[in-house]
Amino acid sequence: MRSLVGASTLMPGLLSQLLAEDGNDPLAPKQPHFTAKASRVIFIFSNGGVSHMDTFDHKPELFKADGKMTGVGGGLSNQQRVLLKPGWQFRPGGQCGTLVSDLFPHLRELMDDICVIRSMKGDDNEHYNATLGLHTGSFFFSRPSIGSWISYGLGTTNSNLPSFVALAPQMPYAGTQIFNNDFLPAYHQGVRVIGGKQPVANLDRRTQQKGLQEMELEFADLLNNRHLRSRAGDSNLAARIRSFETAFHMQTEARDIFAIDQESDATLSLYGLKRGQTEGFGWQCLVARRMAERGVRFIELVDGSSSDNWDQHADMAEHAKHAKNIDQPVAGLLRDLNQRGMLQDTLVVWTTEFGRTPGVDGTKGRGHHSACFSSWMAGGGVKGGHVHGSTDEIGATVAEGKVHVHDFHATILHLLGFDHEKLTYRHGGRDFRLTDVFGNVVGELIA
C-alpha cells in the first residue's frame, strides 16, 4: 500500500519532493528549547475533586479535631464548618516511606517512583472552571489544551497516528474544551477515544469487500496525481494526497493499538484486566502504554465523567469506589512502563481539578476546595520518592512550596525541554502561551 503514493508511476518522486521542499509539515518532529528529560506525557485526570486529606496529604491534626473545631468547608462556599476527620488510615510506602492512605494500596507500593505534590493550588471552586484551568491555563476563556501545546511544540514521531489522544469514554467537565486545539492549527486537536468496539469515529472501514478500499484509493491516487501534474507547486494538494495514505495506515495501526489481546496474561493482570475486555480504566491505562510505545506525544486518561466522579458532597465513603477503579490500573501502568524501560522518558502525571474541604459538607461529605490539593508525577525526570510542599494542620491552605496550576504547567513543559515563556503562538494580535503571563518552574520536583 505504501507504493500507492510514494512510487506513483505517474509522478515519481514529485510528492515527496513537494512535501520536503515545503518544509512545514506541522507534525514533523521538532526539537524543544533544551535537552528534555521526558519525551511524552501520560496525563491522568481524576474528575470531580479528589480529597487530598483522604489520599496523599496526611493530616494527623484533622483526625484529632474531628467534629470539635471549625474550619473551611461546605459546598461551594468557604464558610466555617465543623471539621470532618479523614476516612482512611495512612501508611508509609516504599523505601522513602511517603505516607499514602488506604485508598491507594497499589500505588503506595510505588512511592519510590512517585513525586507527590501536596501544595497544589487553583483559582476557582467550580468544577467546570477548575477543570478548564487545569487543562488550558485559563479558568474562564477557551484556550488550547496542554496536549495541543505539546503537540504544537514537539510534533510527532509517528505520522500514522495523531500526536494527542484523549482516552475519554465519558466527557469530563468543560466538555471538548479540555482537549481542544482552540486557536492552534487543527493538527494539534486531541483525538477522542471512547473505548468499546468503535473506539475512534470513522476508524473502521465502511467498505467490507476485500481489497475494495485499496482499489478506490489507488484510483483516487491516479486521478489526484494527474490533477497535481498540471498544478505543480501546490504543496497543499500533495499534503492532502498524503493524508489519505496516513489515514489508510491509521485504520490498521490504530486498530493494532486496541488489539490488547496480543498482551500476555501477566501484563493483563498487571492492569487488572480480563482477556477480551475493551472498557474500564485498566483498558485505558494499557491502551495508553501501547500508544506511548507507538509515539503518541500526549495521552490523556479521563477518570470519571461530569456526572459520575469524585465529587463527594454527600458521603466521602464513595471515594473508595472511585479509588478502587483506578488504583491497580495506574500502578500497573507505572510497573509496566518501568519494566519496559519506558518510565524514564515518559512523564506520568496524576491530578484532579481541586481538593476537598477539611470541613464537613452535609453530614459525611466534603465541599470543593481549590486553595490546596494534591497531585503527583512519576518518571520523565521527576524526583521519585519525594514529597513537595505542604498544607497547614488541617489541609485548608498551602503552608509552603505553593504549586499553582500555572507552575504545574511550567514544570511539565520544562521536563519536556521547553521554556514555558517561549513556547508561544501569535493569535489575535498577541503571543499566547499555556501559562499566560504566570508560572514558575518548580525545580524541587526535578531529579
Binding site: 467546570y128 471538548t176 487543527a186 469487500q209 486521478l223 498544478r231 489519505f244 456526572s307 498577541r430
Partner: protein, 957 residues
C-alpha cells in the same frame, strides 16, 4: 504613647508654625454613642443638640477598615447615616469663619457622590472605594448663615453616601493634627539624615529595579524613588499610611505578610532594615526627594495622540489615484490597475483567464456555497463564448439574487460575531430564540442592507425611532455575548461585557480593544479609560438572561410587539411569571403535605396530580407574541469606574462614556439619558472614521480570494500585518463608503474585474519570485470550507432541504435542568444547509471541528484550511459520505443508459466540466474492475466515493 513620643521629637513644621489654631466646636458621631477620639469628646448623633440629620442608619462593626485605625475611631466610622441625599444641619453656629471635617466610609461597593457645605460643592464625584475604605475629608472653610450650617452629600438616585462623623471647627487657623497621621511636609535635618542613611540605600538597592522611573518596566504602578511616588502609591493604593506601619502596604510587603505581595519577592529583608522602614513610616515618612518621578513615568507611557493617528489604518480614507500600468489592455475595471501595477512591479505577468467551467464553479461556490448544476454550466459556457463580459455580468446577477447567497455570506458574518445557539455558561444553556438573529443576518445580506445600517441595527436597532421587530432582533448581536460560570449572585458580568467589547472592537474596527481591560494597550493607542468609557455603554444595557445552573429560567427577553405595546407585553410576562410561581408553590406544598401526613394521602395525591397538571398546562400555554433574545436599555444607566487591573473589586476613577480617544473621544452629551448605544453606532460609522470601511472591504476581499489584503482581518493595529496592496484597500474602502455601503455592489466590482477571472495556474517565474502569491499574479486555489463540502454532498445526494430551517429542536424549557454535571449537549441531524446546524458555544460540532469550522467561542476572521488524516478518515468511512455517494450513484445510474454518459454526468455534477478522453477511459476501466466482484450499482457507488475524495472536488480552481 509612641505617637506622642514622635510628636516631641519631630514637630510638624506647618503645625508648629501656626499661632491661632482652629478650635473644635462640635464633633458628632452621626449614628453612634458618645466617644473620645484624638483626646476630644464626640457627641452621640441621635441626641446631639442643634444637629438634625436626614438619611437612614447603618452599622456593621465587622468590616475590616483600610487602613486600620484606633478603636474608638473605628467604632465611629463603622456606624453611619446614608442615602442618596443626606443633610447634616447644625444650628446656633457662632458667626465667623469655621471649618468642616467629614468622615466617610464604604462597607461594600464603590459609590460616587458629591459633598456640599451650605449648598456649595466642596468635593465633586467622590469615590468611596472598596470595602473597608474610609476617609477623613476636609477641612473645608465655611461660614454659617443665620447660625445655620448644612453639610450635604448627594449621590445619583439609588446611590448611597455613607457618612460616619462630622467635626465642626471654629476659626480659620490650621487644625491640630489628627492621629490618623500625615506625611511630613518638609523634613528636618535629622529626618533627612535618617532617610539618607537608613532608607534611601535600602530603597535603591532592593526596590528601584521595579519601582522607579529608571525601571525597565514599573511594576504595580508604584515608584519609590520620589516623595510623590511614595505618597501616591501604586495600583493598590498608597504605599504608606503615615504614622501607622501596620496599616502601610509597604511595611506589610517587606514583612512578607501575604504571599502575593511579599517584597522583595525572593528574599526577605533583614529585621533591622525592616525596623528602620517601620520607624520611617512612624515619623510620617520624611522624604527629601522632591523630583516628581510619577510625572516622569506618566510622561513616558503617555500616548502621543497626533503621532498615534499617523498609523496607517487610522489615517483619513481618501481614494487613491490609479497607478500607471504597462499593459493597458488588461484591466477590465479600476480595481485591476492596483493588482496589475504590483504584478508588473514584481516583474511578473498575470495568469491567463480561467476557462468558463472553472469560472462558473468558482463564482457559484463563492456566492452561494453550492456547485452549479450541469445545466447552468452548459448555458454559461455557451454564453461565455459569445459574450464573455455580459455572460459574467448575468451570472453574477443571478447568483446575487439567489436566496442561497445570504446563507453563504451571512455565514461569513456569523463567523466574525462568533455566533452560537447556546449561552456558553458552564451548563451551556440553549437559546431557542437565537436563530432569529441568524436569520436576520442571512436576510440582511440577501436584501443588501447597507452596511452602515447593518452595523447600527446590531448595536442599537431597538433604539431607532419607531424600531421594527427585525431591528430589535438585530441586537441579538450583543445579546449573544458569551456567559460564564454557574452562579447568579456574583455573576461575572464584566466578562460578558469584555466578550462584547472584544467583538465590537474586532468586528467593526479591526482593533483588539479587550487588551485594555487591565492595562493600557501595549501596542495600539487605546487606554483603559477608553475601555471603561465603552464598558459603561454596555453596563447600561440590559442583556437577556439565558438561564444558568443556579437560575435556570430565561428572563429579560424582548417581546416582538410594536413599541407602544411593550409595556403591556412586559406586564403579561410578569403576570405569567407570578402565576407560574403560585402554581409551583402549590405543587411544593402538596408534596410536603404528602411527606408529612399519611392519613388522607389519596386525596392529597389527587390534588397533587391536579396541581401538577395545572402547572404544566400553564407553562405550555403559548405567549400571544414572540420573544427575541435581544437587548434593551438597562435598569441602571450611567458611567462606570475604571476597574483597576481588570478587577471589578478595585474601582478607580469614573469615566464619562465616550468613543476611543484616537478617533476624537466624542463624549456622550451631558443630557443624554440613554445607554449610548445609538451614539456608539454613530461614532463607529462616522464618515471620518476610516476603519469600518477598510475592515469590511478587507473581509469582502478575503472571502473572494481566500486571503485578505490585510492578512489579519481582525487586527488593523500594530500587532497585525500590513496590507499587501494598501492603495487597493483604500480604493475599495472609499468605493464602499461612497457608494452607499452596498455589499452586493462590492461583489460586482470585484467579480467583474480581470483579477477575479485569472486562472489558478502559476508559471515558473511566479513560483520563483512570489512563492506565496502575494502579488496575486494568479487566482489563489482554495479548499472548500466545511459547510460547502457538506452542503454539496447533501445536494448531489438529492437530500438537501432548502425550506426555511426555523428553530432548533431544543427540549422544552420546562424540562431544562442543565448543570455543569449534566450540561446541555446535543447534535441535531438535519438536511438543511450547514449554516443552520445547531452550534454550541462550548462543545464543537463534531463535523465542523474536523474541517476547520468557525470557533464558536471567539471571532473567526478567516477559516483555516488544515489537512489532517482525520479528514481523510472522514472521507473514507463516514456514514454521510457513504450514504450520499450511494444516493448520487443511484441518480447517475438512472440518468443515463450507458456508463459513458453516466461518467460525463458525474464529472459535470462534481467538477462542473466533462471528463477528457483519458479520464472517461480510466473511469470506465475502474467500473469494470470494481464490477468484477460487485453488482453494477455497487461499482458506481464505489466510483462516486472516489470522485468525492479527489482534490479536484474539494479545491476550487
Amino acid at each position: 504613647m509612641r505617637w506622642s513620643a514622635f510628636l516631641l521629637l519631630f514637630a510638624w513644621p506647618g503645625v508648629a508654625a501656626s499661632a491661632t489654631e482652629a478650635r473644635l466646636h462640635r464633633a458628632v458621631n452621626l449614628n453612634g454613642p458618645p466617644l473620645t477620639i484624638d483626646g476630644r469628646a464626640w457627641e452621640a448623633g441621635n441626641d446631639a443638640k442643634d444637629v438634625k440629620t436626614t438619611g437612614k442608619t447603618f452599622e456593621n462593626q465587622k468590616v475590616r477598615l483600610k487602613p486600620p485605625t484606633d478603636a474608638a475611631r473605628t467604632q465611629m466610622i463603622r456606624s453611619s447615616v446614608w442615602g442618596d441625599k443626606v443633610d447634616i444641619e447644625f444650628s446656633h453656629v457662632p458667626d465667623g469663619p469655621c471649618q468642616v471635617v467629614l468622615y466617610v466610609w464604604e462597607d461594600n461597593h464603590n459609590e460616587r457622590f458629591s459633598l456640599l457645605v451650605n449648598g456649595v460643592t466642596t468635593l465633586a464625584d467622590f469615590e468611596s472605594g472598596t470595602e473597608g475604605m474610609w476617609k477623613r475629608l476636609g477641612p473645608w472653610p465655611a461660614q454659617s448663615v443665620n447660625g445655620r450650617l448644612v453639610v450635604t452629600a448627594r449621590a445619583a438616585s439609588h446611590g448611597a453616601a455613607n457618612l460616619s462623623g462630622v467635626e465642626l471647627w471654629a476659626g480659620d487657623g490650621p487644625l491640630p493634627e489628627s492621629h490618623t497621621g500625615a506625611f511630613v511636609e518638609t523634613p528636618g535635618p535629622e529626618q533627612t539624615a535618617f532617610f539618607e542613611n537608613k532608607i534611601r540605600p535600602v530603597l535603591a538597592e532592593h526596590c528601584y529595579e521595579c519601582h522607579s522611573a529608571t525601571a525597565k518596566k514599573v511594576k504595580g504602578g508604584l515608584v519609590l524613588d520620589s516623595r510623590r511616588g511614595v505618597m501616591k502609591g501604586g495600583d493598590t493604593g498608597p504605599a504608606i499610611t503615615p504614622g501607622d506601619p501596620d496599616a502601610s502596604l509597604l511595611i506589610q510587603a517587606v514583612r512578607h505578610l501575604h504571599e502575593d505581595t511579599a517584597m522583595p519577592p525572593k528574599k526577605k529583608l533583614p529585621p533591622h532594615v525592616i525596623a528602620a522602614l517601620e520607624a520611617w513610616v512612624r515619623m510620617g515618612a520624611p522624604d527629601p526627594r522632591l523630583t516628581d518621578t510619577v510625572a516622569v513615568v506618566q510622561a513616558k507611557s503617555a500616548i502621543d495622540w497626533s503621532k498615534a493617528r499617523e498609523w496607517w489604518s487610522f489615517r483619513p480614507l481618501v481614494s487613491p489615484a490609479l497607478p500607471p500600468v504597462q499593459d493597458k489592455s488588461w484591466p477590465a475595471n479600476e480595481l485591476d490597475h492596483f493588482i496589475l501595477a504590483k504584478i508588473e512591479a514584481a516583474g511578473l505577468k498575470p495568469a491567463p483567464e480561467a476557462d468558463a467551467h472553472a469560472f462558473i464553479r468558482r463564482a457559484t461556490y463563492d456566492l452561494t456555497g453550492l456547485p452549479p448544476t450541469p445545466q447552468e454550466v452548459e448555458a454559461f459556457a455557451a454564453a461565455y463564448i459569445q459574450h464573455p463580459e455580459s455572460s459574467i455580468e448575468n451570472l453574477v446577477e443571478r447568483l446575487l439574487d439567489s436566496p442561497r447567497y445570504g446563507e453563504r455570506w451571512g455565514r461569513h458574518w456569523l463567523d466574525v460575531v462568533r455566533y452560537a445557539d447556546t449561552a456558553g455558561d458552564n451548563s451551556d444553556y440553549p437559546i431557542p430564540q437565537m436563530h432569529r438573529y441568524r436569520d436576520w443576518v442571512i436576510d440582511a445580506f440577501n436584501r443588501d442592507l447597507p452596511y452602515d445600517q447593518f452595523v447600527r441595527q446590531q448595536l442599537a436597532g431597538d433604539l431607532l425611532p419607531d424600531a421594527k421587530p427585525d431591528q430589535v432582533i438585530a441586537t441579538g448581536y450583543i445579546a449573544n455575548a458569551r456567559r460564564f460560570g454557574s452562579r447568579v449572585d456574583d455573576y461575572p458580568q464584566h466578562l460578558t461585557i469584555e466578550d462584547t467589547l472584544d467583538n465590537v472592537g474586532r468586528a467593526f474596527l479591526g482593533l483588539t480593544i479587550n487588551c485594555t481591560r487591565c492595562h493600557d494597550h501595549k501596542f495600539d493607542p487605546i487606554t483603559t479609560q477608553d475601555y471603561y468609557a465603552l464598558y459603561g455603554i454596555f453596563s447600561s444595557t440590559r442583556y437577556p438572561w439565558p438561564g444558568i445552573e443556579l437560575d435556570k429560567k430565561q428572563r429579560d427577553l424582548v417581546p416582538l410587539v410594536p413599541r407602544h405595546q411593550l409595556d403591556t407585553a412586559a406586564k403579561m410576562m410578569k403576570d405569567r411569571e407570578i402565576e407560574s410561581s403560585r402554581l409551583n408553590k402549590e405543587v411544593k406544598r402538596l408534596e410536603t403535605a404528602i411527606k408529612e401526613k399519611k392519613d388522607d394521602k389519596n386525596r392529597l395525591e389527587a390534588e397533587l396530580a391536579q396541581a401538577k397538571a395545572a402547572a404544566k398546562q400553564h407553562a405550555q400555554k403559548p405567549l400571544t407574541f414572540e420573544l427575541a433574545y435581544a437587548v434593551a436599555e438597562g435598569r441602571k444607566i450611567g458611567d462606570v469606574a475604571v476597574q483597576q487591573k481588570g478587577d471589578p473589586a478595585k474601582p478607580g476613577p469614573v469615566v464619562r462614556r465616550h468613543f476611543l480617544t484616537v478617533f476624537g473621544g466624542q463624549e456622550l452629551p451631558a443630557n443624554d439619558s440613554s445607554s449610548g448605544r445609538l451614539q456608539l453606532a454613530a461614532w463607529i460609522m462616522a464618515r471620518d472614521n476610516p476603519l469600518p470601511p477598510r475592515v469590511m472591504a478587507n473581509r469582502l476581499w478575503l472571502n473572494h480570494f481566500g486571503k485578505g489584503i490585510v492578512p489579519t482581518p481582525n487586527d488593523f493595529g500594530k500587532q497585525g500585518k500590513p496590507a499587501t496592496h494598501p492603495e487597493l484597500l483604500d480604493y475599495l474602502a472609499a468605493k464602499f463608503r461612497d457608494s452607499g455601503w452596498s455589499i452586493k455592489g462590492m461583489h460586482r466590482l470585484i467579480m467583474l474585474s480581470r483579477t477575479y477571472r485569472m486562472s489558478t495556474l502559476r508559471d515558473e517565474a511566479a513560483l520563483e519570485a512570489d512563492p506565496a502569491n502575494e502579488w496575486l499574479s494568479s487566482f489563489p486555489r482554495r479548499r472548500l470550507d466545511a459547510e460547502s463540502m457538506r452542503d454539496t454532498l447533501l445536494m448531489l445526494g438529492g437530500s438537501l432541504d432548502l425550506s426555511p430551517a426555523g428553530p432548533h429542536p431544543f427540549p422544552p424549557q420546562n424540562d431544562w435542568g442543565f448543570t455543569q454535571h449534566k450540561p446541555f449537549k446535543a447534535v441535531y441531524e438535519t438536511n438543511h444547509r450547514s449554516v443552520y446546524l445547531m452550534t454550541q458555544r462550548i462543545q464543537r460540532h463534531p463535523y465542523l471541528a474536523i474541517f476547520d469550522g468557525a470557533d464558536p467561542s471567539t471571532s473567526t476572521p478567516a477559516r483555516l484550511s488544515s489537512t489532517t488524516p482525520l479528514q481523510a478518515l472522514y472521507w473514507l468511512n463516514d456514514p454521510l459520505v457513504h450514504d450520499q455517494s450511494r444516493k448520487l450513484a443511484e441518480r447517475i445510474v438512472k440518468s443515463g443508459s450507458d456508463d459513458r454518459t453516466r461518467i460525463r454526468q458525474a464529472y459535470e455534477l462534481l467538477f462542473a466540466r466533462p471528463p477528457d478522453a483519458e479520464e472517461a477511459a480510466v473511469a470506465a476501466r475502474f467500473l469494470v474492475k470494481a464490477g468484477g466482484s460487485l453488482p453494477q450499482d455497487e461499482a458506481w457507488h464505489s466510483l462516486v466515493r472516489v470522485l468525492f475524495r479527489l482534490n479536484e472536488f474539494v479545491y476550487l480552481d
